[in-house]
Amino acid sequence: LWGCAAAAAAAAGEGPSTPATCSPLCRCDEDGGADCSGRGLTTVPTGLSAFTYYLDISMNNITELPANVFRNLPYLEELRLAGNDLAFIHPEALSGLHQLKVLMLQNNQLKTVPSAALKNLHALQSLRLDANQITSVPEDSFEGLQQLRHLWLDDNSLTEVPVGPLRHQSNLQALTLALNRITHIPDNAFANLSSLVVLHLHNNRIQEIGTNCFNGLDNLETLDLNFNNLKTFPEAIQTLPKLKELGFHSNNIASIPEGAFRRNPLLRTIHLFDNPLSFVGTTAFQNLSDLHSLMLRGASMMQDFPSLTGTINLESLTLTGTNIRGIPEDLCEDLTVLRTLDLSYNEIEDLPSFQGCARLQDISLQHNQIRQIDRGTFQGMSSLRVLDLSRNQIKFIHRDAFLSLSALTNLDLSLNSLASVPTAGLSALNQLKLTGNVELRNGLMSKSLPKLRSITVPYAYQCCAFVACDSAVNSAEDDERRNAFGGEEEMERIPLVMHCSPGAFKPCEHLLGSWM
């Protein structure tokens, strides 16, 4: 039928791109799609083809849907009514839409779920009701919707989880109740949602949740509780064996208990920042073999380094602002794929050997109480690029400590108590910070740092080894550099360090002139 209509249109010179029936207010394509969006319409356009399967009337000014308004569109599968001013939908408005799969009603003025109008949409899979002003969800709201898989109720004015209306939605796979005013989650709130994979509850006012509130969510993989008022750790997650992504950042949780995630072995990401954490159970993060990143900041009363046995695929570990004094000797036995390690702002005194963490590229240990660096501390770490040891109390660094750091480009040793700095192995270094080591008085050999581009030193005269203090290049220094690199052949001129602070000058010569 569709082919004949199109042929007739072509014969009539309307051209293949103008289907036989379309409303002048819309743009229709040959596949049965009609786009009437953003045209200032106040009513549903008429004159559309009976075979229309996709109708977009979003971003118009339609305030209500009268009865049977779509009765001539029995093949409609997707209906977009978003961004109108819809406040009323007649109970018979959507009758006849037996094949409708997607209904978009977001960004309207609905105050309740139009349950009567939805009743016979037996094929409906996706229902968007987000960004309305819904305060109530009648018990029978989703009764006829046996195929419903995706439901958006976010950005409304709900004060509680619609437990009753959701009770029979065993096919529901994704649900968002975010950006509402929900204050608590009762036990068994989602009991029959056995197919649910994604549940968003962020940006509500949730203060407490029942210990069994997530019972029945056997297939849940993503749970988003961010930006709520939770005071205690959501123990209810213990009933979520398939959980992969968990967020409860920006809450008021003070402690994470021992074994917090022992029943969630598949966790990949845990977002828990911006909580006033003061205690973290040492066994909380064990055996999470899919966890890639762990970020714990400011758990100020935490004393013991968390055990990470079995959490073998961690690539990034951030643990800052605690009272931790030591790092387990066996840390790297489990963390063999670790790439970034941030243990700054703790009370760490002694360092273990990081040798097992062979893939580590970035270590931050600033703001601790570290006193010395042994020979084996960074042995074998040929991937390490950035090492920050600033603001510690390091007096001694073994001369071979940096021997294997062939990829290190940035080394910050500033504000320690160093009298000397070993440079063997630092052939790739291009930034070195040494300010604040007041005992470090002797000159530094630029030869062993051929790639250096920027250095900060405790005393200005030390810059003269890197940046010419006089206008004429000192020929002795030039010979010395030439010998260091094979003498006869044309020497590849090693560009001098571009930046050395606090400024290169020889105080005596420059202040008192050449007769010195």
Partner: protein
Amino acid sequence: QHKQVTGVSSQGCQGGCQTCSVYNGCLTCKPKLFIHLERDGMRQFGVCLASCPNGFYGTRSPDRNDCIKCGSECDSCFNRNFCLRCRAGSYLHKGKCTESCPDGLVPSDTMKECV
């Protein structure tokens, strides 16, 4: 006067824009609409939408609503990890797009799903 100073205005903005500029289109949107950045050569052009285009999903927060790219295998999605429709050649099963279906299910090319 505001327009002269920064080229940004709240007058004369199209569709759901709150503020806009001649060069970059919408800069902020009216409440509850999603801002989506379209690329026009080197230029980015902001548009305000009630639903994000195919290949993007909407994220809502109290002060801003954005269109974010779906995973590469999705034609449309609920969030980054949950597809609603797959691209050609893969089949949808519980929010995942896979090239083959789990035991007991068969791929349907018309529905692009495992059924």
